[in-house]
C-alpha cells in the first residue's frame, strides 16, 4: 500500500512538472548548458551547479532543483565529448572514457561512441535514481536514531575517507586539505555561544564564510589559471556525422552496465568521493574481468560503457548521503547541499518527516533530467561539438566574469569577491602541489555540523568521551576511521605489498588512484 502511494506521488510529481512548459524548457536548457559545461575543458559540473545556484536563488525549490539537477546530469555526461573527439577529458569524470572513446573516433566511429555514452549515461543515472529511492528511506530511518555522537563521527569520517580516496600524492595531503576546510568553517561567530572566532574585528566575517563563493573560487579560479597558463589547445575534434545509439551493443554489455552502475552508486555514496573515481574503478574492473583485456585501449565498447555508466550512476549514489545524512557524496552534491540550504531545506534524516515527498520529487526530477540529457545528447551533440572550437582564451575569461557575478549575486556583497579570489589562488597552489580540493570543500560544509555536534555531545555527557565508545554506531564509525588511517601507514602498506608479492611502491602512490595497467 505504501509502495502504491509512493508510485502515485511519483507519477503526479512527474506529470505536474511535465505539464508546465516553463519547467520543461528550463529542464532542457539547463541540461544543454550542463552538457556544454561538461564538454568544455576547464569547466566542471561543480562550477556549473555553483553558478546556476546563484541564478536560481529567486526561484521556487522545485524549479531550482530542475535546473540544478539538469545541469549536474548534463555536465557529468558532457565530459565524454572532448574525451572521445579530442582525447582530452572535459571533466575528470570522463578521463577513463578517453581510453576507448578516442580510438573509436579515430577509426570513424565517433558517432557510435557518442551514442553509446549517451545511452550508457542515461541508464546509469536511472539505476542510480532507483537506488536513491530504494535505499534512502532505510538510511534515513536508521539516521533518525543518530545523536550528536554519531553525527560528529560521520562528519569526521566523511573528511577522512574523502581525503584518503581523492589524494593523488601522499594520502595525508587529503587529510590536511580536510582540516583546512574545517579551519575555514570555524571563521565567524560560533553557533552555541556566538563568540567571534578568527574574524579579526571585521563585521563582514561575523556570519562566517559563504560556501558558494568558496566553491566557485576553489573550482573555477584554479581551472582558469591552469588552462590559460599551460596554453592548453584542444585541437580539431574528430568528424561526427550522426549520433547513433547502438542498442545491440548496449544489450550485449548489460553485465558491464549492471556492475558499473553498482560501482557508481557505491562510490557516489562515499562522502566527497566523486564521479572521476567511479569512472576509473569501473573501467579498471571491466578490463580486469574481460575475456579479451588486450582489446582495451583500442576502442572497446565495454570499457566506454562501463566508465560512463558508473560516473552517471554516481549521481544517484551521491544524493543518498546528501538527502539522508546531510553529507554530500561528491563535490557537485556539496554544491547542491549549499543550494538546498539557500532555499531553506536542510537535508538530513529529518527531511523524511518535514518534507515526506521531497525524495520522490527529487527522483522524478532526476528521471526527467536523464531523459532530457539523452534527447539533448542524441539530437544536439553536433551543435555542442562546434563549441569545442572556441579557444580557451575566449571562453575562460568569460567564465571568470560569471564567477565574479555569481559570487556577488549571492547577498549582493562585494566582500564575497574579496574572499573568492584569494581562496581561488590558494586552491590553485594547493592543486599544483597535489592537495585534493574535494576534502577542503567537504570540510567547509561539514565543519559546522562537526563543531556543534561535538560540543552538544560533550554537554550531554558532562565532558565525558565514554559514550563515544559505548554506542554501537559510534564504535563502528571509530573503528572504520581508525582502520582507514592505519591502512595508510607505510609499515602496513609495505606488509600488504609483501604479502601480495608486489614490488615496493613509491611512497607517493595512492592505490585508489593507480590508473596504470
Amino acid at each position: 500500500m505504501e509502495i502504491l502511494n509512493q508510485f502515485s506521488v511519483f507519477g503526479s510529481a512527474l506529470l505536474e512538472m511535465m505539464m508546465q512548459p516553463g519547467n520543461v524548457l528550463l529542464l532542457f536548457g539547463s541540461s544543454l548548458l550542463g552538457i556544454i559545461f561538461g564538454a568544455l575543458p576547464g569547466l566542471t559540473a561543480t562550477l556549473g551547479v555553483a553558478l546556476l545556484t546563484t541564478l536560481t536563488y529567486g526561484m521556487s525549490l522545485d524549479t531550482a532543483l530542475i535546473a540544478l539537477l539538469g545541469m549536474y546530469v548534463g555536465a557529468i555526461y558532457g565530459g565524454s565529448y572532448p574525451s572521445i573527439l579530442i582525447n582530452i577529458p572535459g571533466t575528470a569524470a570522463a578521463a577513463a572514457t578517453a581510453m576507448e572513446g578516442y580510438p573509436m573516433a579515430c577509426r570513424g566511429e565517433g558517432g557510435k561512441a557518442l551514442g553509446l555514452t549517451t545511452t550508457a549515461s542515461f541508464i546509469g543515472t536511472v539505476i542510480g535514481m532507483i537506488f536513491l529511492v530504494a535505499l534512502s528511506p532505510m538510511i534515513a530511518d536508521l539516521a533518525l536514531q543518530f545523536t550528536s555522537y554519531e553525527f560528529f563521527l560521520l562528519a569526521f569520517f566523511g573528511i577522512i575517507i574523502s581525503g584518503t580516496l581523492t589524494s593523488h600524492d601522499l594520502v595525508y595531503k587529503g587529510w590536511i586539505a580536510g582540516l583546512l576546510g574545517l579551519a575555514l568553517s570555524t571563521i565567524g561567530r560560533d553557533h552555541l555561544q556566538f563568540y567571534p572566532r578568527f574574524t579579526f574585528g571585521m563585521p563582514e566575517l561575523d556570519g562566517g564564510i559563504e560556501v558558494v563563493p568558496v566553491l566557485i573560487g576553489a573550482f573555477g579560479i584554479p581551472q582558469i589559471i591552469h588552462v590559460l597558463r599551460s596554453r592548453l589547445t584542444l585541437g580539431q575534434p574528430k568528424e561526427v556525422k550522426r549520433i547513433i545509439p547502438d542498442f545491440a551493443d548496449i544489450a550485449k554489455n548489460m553485465k558491464h552496465i549492471s556492475r558499473s552502475a553498482l560501482i557508481g552508486v557505491g562510490i557516489g555514496a562515499v562522502p566527497g568521493v566523486g564521479e572521476d573515481i567511479a569512472g576509473w574503478v569501473s573501467y579498471g574492473t571491466a578490463k580486469n574481468s574481460s575475456k579479451n583485456p588486450e582489446n582495451f585501449g583500442k576502442g572497446e565498447p565495454a570499457g566506454l560503457i562501463s566508465s560512463e555508466t558508473a560516473n552517471n550512476a554516481c549521481i544517484g549514489g551521491a544524493l543518498i548521503p546528501l538527502t539522508t545524512l546531510g553529507i554530500p557524496g561528491s563535490p557537485p552534491a556539496a554544491m547542491l547541499l549549499g543550494a538546498l540550504m539557500l532555499h531553506g531545506v536542510t537535508p538530513g534524516p529529518a527531511i523524511m518527516v518535514e518534507k515526506p515527498t521531497f525524495l520522490i520529487e527529487l527522483t522524478a526530477i532526476l528521471l526527467l533530467a536523464s531523459l532530457a540529457m539523452w534527447i539533448n545528447g542524441i539530437y544536439l551533440a553536433r551543435q555542442v561539438i562546434k563549441l569545442l572550437r572556441v579557444p580557451a582564451a575566449i571562453f575562460l575569461p568569460i567564465v571568470a566574469v560569471l564567477c565574479v557575478l555569481g559570487s556577488y549575486s549571492l547577498g549582493l556583497n562585494i566582500f564575497n569577491l574579496y574572499l573568492m579570489i584569494p581562496i581561488g589562488v590558494a586552491a590553485y597552489f594547493l592543486t599544483e602541489m597535489k592537495y585534493p580540493i574535494a576534502p577542503l570543500v567537504i570540510g567547509v560544509i561539514l565543519g559546522p555540523m562537526a563543531d556543534e555536534n561535538l560540543r552538544r555531545a560533550l554537554m550531554v555527557s558532562d565532558g565525558s568521551f565514554l559514550p563515544f565508545f559505548t554506542r554501537p554506531v559510534s564504535v563502528i564509525l571509530i573503528l572504520v576511521v581508525l582502520l582507514t588511517i592505519l591502512s595508510q601507514l607505510p609499515a602496513w602498506k609495505r606488509y600488504r605489498r609483501r604479502k601480495r608479492g608486489l614490488p615496493e611502491a613509491d611512497e607517493g602512490d595512492n592505490p585508489f588512484l593507480n590508473h596504470s595497467d
Binding site: 570555524t186 555561544q193 590559460l228 597558463r229 565574479v404 556577488y408 579570489i421 602541489m433 560540543r455
Partner: protein, 246 residues
C-alpha cells in the same frame, strides 16, 4: 627519484612549514578565546568552549605538517628552502608570467568593480584578458596588463582619498582605458593578419558579453550590478523609452 617528485617534495617542505606556522598562529589566537571564564553571562567549561573544535584542528594540522616536513626531508634538504631563482628569473618564465597576469587582472577587476560602471569595467577587463591571451603576444599582454592595473590603482586610490565610491569621471576614465586597450596595440605592435583578427575579435566579444549579462542579471534575475554608472544608466533610459513606446 624523478625531477617532478623532487620538486613536489620541495613544495611539500615549503607548504609544511607554512601550515605549521598557520597552525601556531591559530593556537596563539585561541589563547584569547573563553575556555573557562564566563562569556555573555554563560559560565564556560572546556567542552562548551568555542576554542575546543579549532584546538582539535590545530593539533591535527601540527601533527600532519610535521609528518609532511619529515617526509619531504627524506628527499630534499633544508637548504632547498632558500633556493631562489630571483623574481626576474621567475617572471621571465612564460607560464609564471601568464599566472601572474591572470591573478593581477582578476584582482584589479574585483578592486575596480565598486568604483566603475559594471558594463564598462567588464568590457575593459575582458578586452585586457581575452586580448592579451587570444592574440598571445607577451608584449601586448604586458601593455594591456599595465594599463588595466594602472587604472585600477589610480581609481581605487583616488576614490579612497576623495572618499567617494564611484563617479561619472571614473566611468569616463575607464572608457578612455578601453579605447587605449583597443588602439594602442594596433598602433604600437606590428600585428599580422591573424593577430589583428584575434585582437578585433577580442574587443567585440568583450563588448557583447556584458551586453548580454547585464540585462539578464539586472532585468531577468533582478540582481543589481555592483556599480551602475553611465553605461547602465543609458540602458535604463533605453528600457524606459521602450516601455513608454509599448
Amino acid at each position: 627519484m624523478g625531477a617532478d617528485k623532487k620538486a613536489l617534495r620541495k613544495a611539500d617542505l615549503r607548504s609544511g612549514i607554512l601550515l605549521l606556522l598557520l597552525a601556531l598562529a591559530m593556537l596563539g589566537m585561541l589563547a584569547d578565546f573563553p575556555m573557562t571564564d564566563s562569556y555573555g553571562g554563560v559560565q564556560n567549561v572546556w567542552y562548551v568552549s568555542p576554542a575546543l573544535f579549532p584546538f582539535l584542528i590545530v593539533i591535527g594540522l601540527v601533527l600532519l605538517s610535521l609528518v609532511l616536513i619529515a617526509n619531504a626531508l627524506r628527499t630534499v634538504r633544508w637548504s632547498s628552502l632558500v633556493e631562489n631563482q630571483g623574481f626576474s628569473r621567475w617572471i621571465s618564465d612564460d607560464g609564471n608570467f601568464r599566472f601572474a597576469s591572470i591573478v593581477l587582472l582578476l584582482g584589479c577587476y574585483v578592486y575596480l568593480l565598486p568604483h566603475v560602471d559594471f558594463f564598462i569595467a567588464t568590457w575593459a577587463f575582458l578586452t585586457a584578458f581575452i586580448g592579451g591571451f587570444h592574440v598571445d603576444r607577451r608584449d601586448q599582454l604586458t601593455l594591456q596588463l599595465g594599463l588595466f592595473v594602472s587604472l585600477s590603482l589610480v581609481l581605487g586610490v583616488t576614490g579612497k582619498a576623495a572618499e567617494i565610491e564611484s563617479a561619472p569621471m571614473f566611468d569616463i576614465a575607464a572608457l578612455v582605458l578601453l579605447a587605449l586597450l583597443y588602439l594602442l596595440p594596433r598602433m604600437r605592435f606590428s600585428l599580422d593578419t591573424e593577430q589583428l583578427h584575434h585582437h578585433n575579435q577580442s574587443f567585440w566579444v568583450s563588448g557583447v558579453v556584458p551586453l548580454l549579462l547585464v540585462p539578464a542579471f539586472k532585468y531577468g534575475l533582478l540582481v543589481p550590478m555592483p556599480s551602475e554608472g553611465i553605461a547602465i544608466g543609458l540602458m535604463e533610459s533605453l528600457r524606459y523609452a521602450l516601455r513608454s513606446l509599448t
